[in-house]
Each structure stands twice: as structure tokens, then as C-alpha cells.
């Protein structure tokens, strides 16, 4: 289940900045702001996906039961590397000008975490230096302090760094507070310290204990693990889906798509139909379906169905109504009762439904609905997008590759409304797109004041044709939804293709008259 709104503040605004260096075509530092609506655009292979892959590497490492010897689990549900050299930047730059692999994140209120790695042919990638700063406590300049923690740092150096950049020494009481050593933990580097005995947060007595100061303790792990990733390769035309467990903390491990039917099922059986309503409104807005329903077909399997008719044909049955139906006490004669009972028993047995009400609904939908595997790809490709947007809590990062995939142009344009709604709730969306219509839809939402311009940021990726190195141009749209000289080339393509077509038609028609 999702986090209760009263607890949203625990997670802060989420990840607000990502910097990547030395990763694939991002050979030089690419430092980008992440806002509630962040758009990554650019030509094919310009570095958009590469920018987000470090987060995916970290997510799959954190989700793994296996603790890899290297900092990252390189092959998993999100990335498929076998050797670090597959993602390390290879450029024609002289060796001394090449930047080592490094990642940096800003998150919540003034937290910064960074990691710098060294790469060797035999050992692969190893962590070299780390950084964790509570900027609200310490210096706001990350530059002066960058990469100070190394395994060679002395306890005195580490102690002075903690005093400068962390609130821990004060919280723990400086008397008896001892820094022990720098430590590595998966892809992080941090400080192991010993805190003196004292009172815990609830006044309870606590003995002397050893603790860590590292990004995971500042909350970065939670943001990375809670990230929802909707990949470009999606739209599995499954007829039946496994019932999956829905994490209370909003963790979705492995392909998000596999959670989608169970999430819809849980929304449809919840007291509050808000999320189910939002999903159906989204599908209707995109012109794909008037409603959607899930049907339990066995104890472990679900089907996802949409109505045959595009217009809503019957009143919506809410979660509480479903439960009420199962408690109905019909006044039936013995013969009728036996007929109904045997029909329901048969339906429950065959469908795996939990109760008679569900069995009745399952029978009904068989005549009015079809499995989403039997309709066009658009529904099954956009469903994970809509469900992710609706399910995500404020501050939760949702990374979607090509949300416009398989959608009709009108739906691509309308999809911007759904994105803006999620961003307005505080969800941190990073979308990677090639759709000029979706981009225009977003700018229209801004011009119509449906979303504030400062909640959106656009990053245009380009790759140098000679060096292969990516560069990024960022722009904040103005309140009228204009982006100035942001170098997107969608307009060039649109006007150029229109002009070429019209010229060709005219030439053909003129030639035909001669």
C-alpha cells in the first residue's frame, strides 16, 4: 500500500539533482536539475538513457539479495552489463583529460552524496572516494569539500569532516564521540564512528554503539529503491498476470509492469476509489477505454479487462459496493436458491473468485469486456505509465522511457495533462521522449497555468559528432510555455517535412498539367 499522506514529509522532495561523469557518452560531468516534471529529449543515442542508468544500476544492486564483490550488480532487471568497461566512457580525449566515473546526487533538504570510482583492467570498478554532506548543517559549497573521504583518511581527518558537514557529532554529543575509520558499503563510502552511551529518542537508555555516516543513512537509498522505472520495452501482452505483493513502503522490485494488475485490483477493492477513478479518467482522456477492471481467475492469477464499448455502459461498481454485494441476503425460494447457489459455486470454482459477488461480476464482464491482450498495444503500453503516475507518492522518482509509445498523436498530446497532474502532487517525474506533441502538451499545460513553469525543466541532449561526447542544454519554460533558444529540433523537422511535402506535391501537380 502507498504511504499515508501524513507521512509524505518523511521522504522530503526527493532527488533534486543528478550529476554523472565518465559513464558512456557522458564523459564529462553532466550535472542536471531534477524537478517534478523533468523532460529528457534529444536525438537517438544522445545520452538520455545513459544519464539515468547509474540510478538503475544502484537500484538493482540495492534490490539484490546477493552482495556483489564489485560496487554494482551489473546485470539484473534494469541493466545488462557484464563488465564495467561496457559502461565506462571511451573517448579520444588524452588520458589526463579523461574524467573518472563519478556520481553525485542532491536530495531532500540540502543533502548531497557523491561517489568517485577508479577503474582497473583486472579489478574492474572500485570505490575511490565518497562524500556525504548535510548542507543545511555544513558548508553549502560541495566543491571545497568534494571527495574528501577515502580509505586512506585518518580518523582525525574524518572527524573534522563530520564536524563540518554532519549534524551527527552534535546529536550524539561530542564527548565520547569517536571516529573509527572510513568504510565502503556497496557503491558508497562513508565513516564508521562510535557514539557514546546515552539516551535514545524516547528517553531509553542506550549503550555505546557503532554507527555509519553515509548516503544511505541520509535517505538516498530509500529514494533509489523507491524509484519507479517504466522502461521503453513494455506492453507485455500477457493474458494472465501473477498476483503480486504490494509493498507498504512503495518499493517495486523488478519490472514495474508485473505489479500493475495487482495495483489496479487493490485500488478496485479499496474503500477510497480515488486512484481507480484517476486511472479510468486517464484512459478515457487518452481515448483508450471508458473503464478498466481486473478479474481474479485463480488464487494466484489476474486478468485485466477493458469494456468492448468505448462509452461507459453501466454504473461503476465501487470497492465498498463489491463488499456489500457479497453480504446481500436474497429472499429466494428453495429451488431458486439451489439454482443460484450451484451456478455461483461453479463460477467461483472455475474463476478462482473469493466470494459470490466477485464471481457474479466475473460472469458479467465476460460478456461486456475483453482481455487487454486482445486489444491494440496502446492500452498495455500506457497502463504502466498511468498506474505509476497515480501510485507514486510525493517525492518519489518515476522514470519513464517514451511515455508516448504506441499512442495516437491525440493521446500523446493529452498525456501531458496526466503528467502535469502527477507533478503537481509532488511526484518527481523524469520522462524521456521523442514526441513533439507531448512536449507541446506540457508547454500548453504551463501556458494554461495548469502547472507552474518552475516545476518543469527541459534537458536537450546532443552528441558531438567527432568526439562522441554528450552535452546537455537545459531550459526552464517561461510562464507562457515558451523555451527560447533551447535547441530542440522538433520544429525544424516539422516545418522542414511540411515544406518538402508541399513542394513535392506542387511540383508533381505542375508537372501533371504540362
Amino acid at each position: 500500500m502507498a504511504i499515508h499522506p501524513s507521512n509524505w514529509h518523511l521522504f522530503g522532495p526527493g532527488i533534486t539533482r543528478i550529476a554523472v561523469t565518465g559513464f558512456k557518452s557522458l564523459a564529462t560531468k553532466t550535472d542536471l536539475e531534477i524537478r517534478p516534471l523533468t523532460v529528457l529529449a534529444g536525438a537517438n543515442s544522445s545520452g538520455k538513457s545513459s544519464f539515468m542508468q547509474p540510478l538503475l544500476l544502484m537500484k538493482q544492486t540495492l534490490e539484490s539479495d546477493v552482495n556483489p564483490a564489485a560496487p554494482f550488480l551489473m546485470s539484473g532487471p534494469y541493466t545488462r552489463y557484464t563488465q564495467a568497461r561496457q559502461f565506462l566512457s571511451r573517448t579520444y580525449l588524452p588520458r589526463k583529460e579523461q574524467s573518472p566515473l563519478a556520481f553525485e546526487f542532491s536530495f531532500d533538504e540540502g543533502m548531497t552524496a557523491g561517489m568517485l570510482y577508479s577503474a582497473e583492467a583486472q579489478r574492474g570498478v572500485t570505490i575511490e572516494r565518497g562524500l556525504s554532506i548535510e548542507e543545511s548543517w555544513g558548508s553549502r559549497s560541495t566543491e571545497e569539500s568534494q571527495w574528501r573521504i577515502t580509505t586512506r583518511s585518518t580518523p582525525d581527518e574524518l572527524r573534522s569532516m563530520l564536524l563540518k558537514f554532519s549534524s551527527i557529532p552534535l546529536m550524539m554529543g561530542q564527548v565520547g564521540f569517536t571516529v573509527l575509520s572510513a568504510v565502503n558499503s556497496r557503491f558508497y563510502q562513508g565513516v564508521l564512528y562510535s557514539a557514546p552511551a546515552g539516551e535514545g529518542p524516547r528517553g531509553e537508555a542506550m549503550g555505546r554503539r557503532e554507527l555509519y555516516h553515509m548516503p544511505e543513512n541520509l535517505g538516498l537509498n530509500s529514494h533509489i529503491r523507491r524509484m519507479i522505472y517504466v522502461p521503453g520495452l513494455r506492453g507485455d501482452q500477457n493474458r494472465k498476470w501473477l498476483f503480486t505483493e504490494i509493498s507498504e513502503q512503495g518499493f517495486f522490485e523488478g519490472p514495474f509492469e508485473s505489479y500493475v494488475p495487482s495495483l489496479i485490483y487493490s485500488w478496485q477493492h479499496a474503500d477510497d476509489t480515488k486512484r481507480e477513478d484517476e486511472l479510468e479518467a486517464g484512459l478515457e482522456l487518452l481515448g483508450l477505454a471508458s473503464s478498466i477492471t481486473t478479474m481474479r481467475v485463480s488464487e494466484s492469477e489476474l486478468e485485466v479487462l477493458i469494456p468492448i464499448a468505448l462509452e461507459r455502459s453501466r454504473p461503476k461498481i465501487t470497492g465498498p459496493e463489491r463488499r456489500k454485494m457479497s453480504e446481500l441476503n436474497f429472499e429466494l425460494g428453495k429451488e431458486q436458491f439451489e439454482t443460484v447457489e450451484s451456478a455461483l459455486n461453479l463460477a467461483m470454482k472455475r474463476s478462482g473468485a473469493k466470494d459470490p459477488a466477485e464471481a457474479l461480476l466475473n460472469i458479467a464482464v465476460q460478456y461486456t469486456h475483453v482481455n487487454i491482450a486482445d486489444v491494440g498495444l496502446a492500452v498495455s503500453t500506457v497502463l504502466p505509465v498511468l498506474v505509476a503516475l497515480i501510485q507514486a507518492d510525493p517525492g518519489q522518482l518515476v522514470y519513464i522511457e517514451q511515455p508516448e509509445l504506441h499512442l495516437h498523436p491525440r493521446a500523446q498530446w493529452k498525456l501531458a495533462q496526466v503528467l502535469a497532474q502527477a507533478a503537481n502532487r509532488g511526484v518527481r517525474l523524469v520522462i524521456e521522449t521523442h514526441s513533439s506533441l507531448l512536449l507541446r502538451g506540457i508547454l500548453t499545460q504551463i501556458a494554461e497555468s495548469k502547472i507552474a513553469n518552475d516545476k518543469a525543466i527541459l534537458h536537450w541532449f546532443e552528441r558531438d559528432s567527432k568526439t562522441g561526447i554528450s552535452t546537455v542544454h537545459s531550459a526552464e519554460p517561461d510562464p507562457a510555455g515558451r523555451v527560447g533558444d533551447w535547441p530542440e529540433d522538433f520544429g525544424d523537422v516539422e516545418l522542414g517535412s511540411d515544406n518538402d511535402y508541399l513542394n513535392a506535391v506542387e511540383n508533381k501537380m505542375v508537372a501533371g498539367t504540362k
Binding site: R440, A480, V483, G484, W486, G491, L495, L502
Partner: protein, 189 residues
């Protein structure tokens, strides 16, 4: 605009109207559509700025072809449209119209005076398919000195030369001064 060679041009609604290939089914007619479209495309490619007044925007809204609407939308997105009514030049209407002899001519000039106002307040460049309007302006140039600072280009009359001028930077060439342009292009009419 940061683009060093960009100029500010008032683009009349008839250029937007003529930018489709509506006439392709009767290509025997002189086709201004293609020429107008090539000029709009050149403005886009050279990153020039289009100047609009409220009146002009209304006319564009009513008459623009689908290509021109897309052009306008892209120009807006790139902040290459500026709004300028040139209200401070409105007082030129009376002396300018006084130079014309008939009520019809005066009304025709008054109708398009917003183009002059916007141009005078910005880059002094007008792109239009009109032939009557520049003639009236040229007639008024003797009495209203400000009008001599206007420069004119006409896709239909000039053909590809107009597009090439825009591509070359839309400079204020002497032969484009509105009275000279009329003399050169409309003298025999």
C-alpha cells in the same frame, strides 16, 4: 533574441494565408502559396523574429494556413514572436491618409496602418503580398518622413528573390526602401 543576424519583420497575414498549397489543384494560376511558404521557412531557418500587433494576430488567426499556424506555434515556442502595436506612431494616420485622394484609398491605408506602426516601432521591415498598400505608403512618403524608413518585401511579386533576401539576413538594402521598391516593382502597373 541572441542570434546575431536576426531581424525583426512584420509578417502580414496574407503571407500566412498564402503559405499553403491550396492552389495546387489549379497550378496554372500564379502560385503565391509556395513563395510565401518558402519565406516563412527562411525566417524560421535564419532565426529572424516576427512582429505581431493585436490586429495582425487576429488576422492570422482567421486566415493562416495549417503550415503557417504550425510555423507561428514553433516561432512562439522559441520566443521568436514579439508583440508591438507601435501605438506611439498612430498619429501618423491623419497626415498619411491626407496624401491620398479617394475615400477608398484612405480606408485601405488606414486598415493596414497597424503594419506600419509595428514596423516603425521595431525593425522597419514589412513582408507582405499586398501591392496596393505599399503604393499608398509610397504616396505618403513625401509628407510623412517616418515612412521613408520602412523597407518592404513581397513574396508573390519577387518570387525566390524574396526568400534569398531573408536567407541573406534581411538587410535594409537601398532598393527595398518602400518608395524605391514601389518604383522598381509597380511602376508599370
Amino acid at each position: 533574441m541572441s542570434w546575431k543576424n536576426s531581424k525583426q519583420l512584420v509578417v502580414d497575414a496574407n503571407v500566412g494565408q498564402g503559405s499553403s498549397n491550396d492552389k495546387m489543384f489549379n497550378p496554372v494560376l500564379e502560385d503565391s502559396g509556395s513563395q510565401s511558404r518558402q519565406c516563412l521557412q527562411a525566417i524560421w531557418e535564419e532565426r529572424h523574429v516576427a512582429v505581431f500587433s493585436g490586429n495582425l494576430r487576429d488576422e492570422w488567426g482567421r486566415h493562416a494556413s495549417s503550415y503557417a499556424k504550425r510555423w507561428l506555434r514553433n516561432m512562439e515556442q522559441k520566443c521568436r514572436i514579439i508583440e508591438e502595436d507601435g501605438e506611439r506612431f498612430a498619429e501618423l494616420a491623419i497626415p498619411a491618409c491626407a496624401c491620398l485622394s479617394t475615400a477608398g484609398e484612405k480606408a485601405a491605408l488606414a486598415k493596414d496602418l497597424h503594419l506600419i506602426q509595428s514596423a516603425l516601432a521595431t525593425g522597419q521591415l514589412i513582408l507582405s503580398n499586398e501591392v496596393r498598400f505599399p503604393r499608398f505608403v509610397a504616396l505618403a512618403c513625401g509628407a510623412v518622413q517616418e515612412l521613408v524608413s520602412l523597407y518592404y518585401a513581397n513574396p508573390t511579386v519577387e518570387g525566390d528573390r524574396c526568400r534569398l533576401w531573408i536567407k541573406a539576413g534581411a538587410e535594409k538594402d537601398a532598393d527595398r526602401r518602400i518608395d524605391v521598391w514601389v518604383e522598381n516593382h509597380l511602376k508599370s502597373d
